[in-house]
Amino acid sequence: MTKRFITLILTALLGVSFAQTITVWSGFPEMEAFYRYVADDFEAENPGVTIEILTQPLRDFERKVTVALPSNSAADILEISSSFAARLVQGGLIPALPDNLAEYVRSEAYNDFFVENASFDGNVYGVPLFRGQGALFYNTAMFEEAGLPGPPQTMEEYIDYANQLTVRDDSGNPTRSGWSLRLTGGGSGVAEKFWTIMHQYGGSIVEQTADGLWKNGYNNEAGQQAVQLYVDLVNKDNVVTPELKGDAEGFELGTTAMFIRESWVIGDIASKAPDLEYDTALLPEGTIALPVNLYVTNDNSEAYAFVEYALKPEYQLWLFENVGWLPNRQDVDYTPVIEAIPQVEAFLNVPEEHNLFTVPPIAPIDEIQTRFAERLVQAYTDESLVDNPEGIAEFLAEAAAETDAILERAGLLGE
């Protein structure tokens, strides 16, 4: 009896000492399915280890991480964009990866672009997982109906097609937008979307100067053309309005004929509008690619093991096929996914001359984009800017002064 009792106690104690919970936080709710899928296999292979996953909308998640990390109450594994992580890494809140994992990240498995974005001061901090890369989504049935041969190739064609694809009611208000543009919303998303359009004209929200610092990159012809495009499509051509449902939801509902977005929309369409006739296409000059990495916040071997486990080719394929985010491993054969979902090709087979850009990992970048976005939201619906290049120039000069002031305050303003 005593023996059985002691055995029972020992078993319970051992069970307690070996049981371990690894927490994973993500700012992309759709990623929960991926982590759960990986975690089920990992838990089966590692008895006693439990993976807890928490996903939240991105901005809430970022605030939570900001508060939790300094107080050592963050999850073991954080899934964060490289631009947001930069501040946390520079603040010493995230440790560098152990040598074996760092070596793996530096291996042929990843393009240099992703290694650079996961590194700081020569050390690797994050494990590249996926990226948010933009491309054009267009409704093939609507294009056919409008007699358009295929996706637009130049910005002039984008504007022309947008006008041809718009359906308006008797009073001239669009009931279907030819091109859904992000016109409203809090946070930096508005600026990021604007950045992608402006990139086609050669502009950038911030650009590096010869002294290695930064300054605004939009108070120029490219910025002028991009703002003009928005102002005209909203106020002059009546192609899109803030009220009309747009973005992925509008595309799935048929209230927009085309829009620019990341690959996750493919997964979203598959679940919400599986019968939608659509295709994807490259943008004229290049597109944004926002790397999202996994960071381990403490020296937890099981957490590192889970991160490594999630990188297996079969999980990368599952992520791409089922969630839609673009995995960053380049040594995985994605052919089965392309065969199953042809629309992914515009994201995967990107020609070398197609220029990928990303948000630079500088501390005030989020503030710069958010402040600029607030101004853009007002400018887009400002009718006084129609056929008013001087007004647009004035708007850009004021916004640029604010951007440069933020950079100066952070000690990052270049000549």
Partner: protein
């Protein structure tokens, strides 16, 4: 010289108050003091060095269009809520002041929003105000009005927040007024009735003057609460696609964004001190007015 009994009573009073005062000191006074000190530093949330910069944060506030927009919006919303909710609550309280068969039901119905959690209540309003599917647009359609973008057009978005907030606070204000009205001696009304006063005259010359202290109390409480408006703005109109974001920016939202998104805790602390100053000034002004009139 105080007697031992008096001293004992004082001791008991302080001893009884001590735990509450200690908690108040710990969760209110000390944080306010620390926030005040932080407002003079370049206090980055995650940087080790937090240098003293004097009044720089306050001077930057004066030039910051985002802060100015927040201040104007918050003030418009705060006074909008008072203007909408206080008279409405008074009207409802007057209508419910005479006990009737369904009085308890109506009192509960009006009070229900007060005890409803702000987030689900706001989500329900978000649906009501939706430009495409919302019942409010269907309702105004019956009167031949065109659908409105309640949560997108700047002026309407602010009005929507005022409407929701007034609805939420109406029940609380109504209960306070109801207690006040029921405490007015019935003899005043009887005398007025004998003198041939109409209902409107009874309200104008008896109810309203008698309720003045309560009216001021309700206005003070409502304006203070309204200056702290955040949740409804966040859920209804900010940080989401299709939301006006900037145009309904309010002070608490701006503070949270500066502190927890841009890591500028020193700057956010300066904003918090300005908000504290505004609320304290308003409170003192209204209490001074209250003392004068009562």
């Amino acid at each position: 010289m105080t007697s031992p009994i008096t001293r004992k009573r004082w001791f008991f009073a302080y001893a009884a108050l001590a735990p509450i005062l200690a908690i108040y000191l710990f969760v209110r006074i000390i944080p306010i003091g620390r926030t005040f000190l932080m407002s003079f530093r370049n206090w980055d949330l995650i940087a080790l060095n937090k240098p003293f910069i004097g009044m720089a944060n306050y001077l930057e506030l004066l030039k910051d269009p985002s802060f100015q927009t927040s201040l104007v919006n918050t003030t418009v919303i705060a006074f909008g809520i008072v203007i909408l909710s206080v008279p409405a609550a008074l009207l409802v309280a007057v209508l419910l002041s005479r006990p009737r068969k369904l009085s308890a039901f109506y009192e509960t119905a009006y009070f229900l929003p007060v005890v409803t959690s702000m987030v689900p209540a706001t989500l329900a309003w978000k649906w009501i105000l939706d430009a495409d599917l919302g019942p409010l647009n269907q309702f105004i359609g019956f009167f031949g009005m065109s659908p409105k973008a309640w949560l997108i057009e700047p002026g309407l978005a602010i009005f929507s927040i005022i409407l929701l907030s007034a609805w939420k606070v109406l029940g609380y204000n109504m209960i306070i007024f109801l207690v006040g009205i029921r405490n007015i001696p019935a003899t005043y009304y009887e005398a007025a009735t004998i003198d041939g006063a109409t209902n409107l005259q009874r309200f104008r010359y008896i109810t309203l003057p008698q309720l003045r202290p309560i009216l001021l109390f309700v206005s003070v409480i409502t304006v203070i609460q309204s200056y702290n408006v955040y949740t409804q703005v966040y859920v209804l109109a900010s940080d989401a696609q299709g939301a006006p974001g900037y145009v309904v920016r309010v002070l608490v939202y701006d503070m949270i964004e500066n502190g927890f998104r841009f890591f500028r805790m020193g700057y956010a602390s300066a904003e918090a001190m300005v908000l504290l100053l505004i609320v304290m000034t308003l409170t003192l002004l209204q209490f001074a007015f209250l003392r004068e009139r009562t």
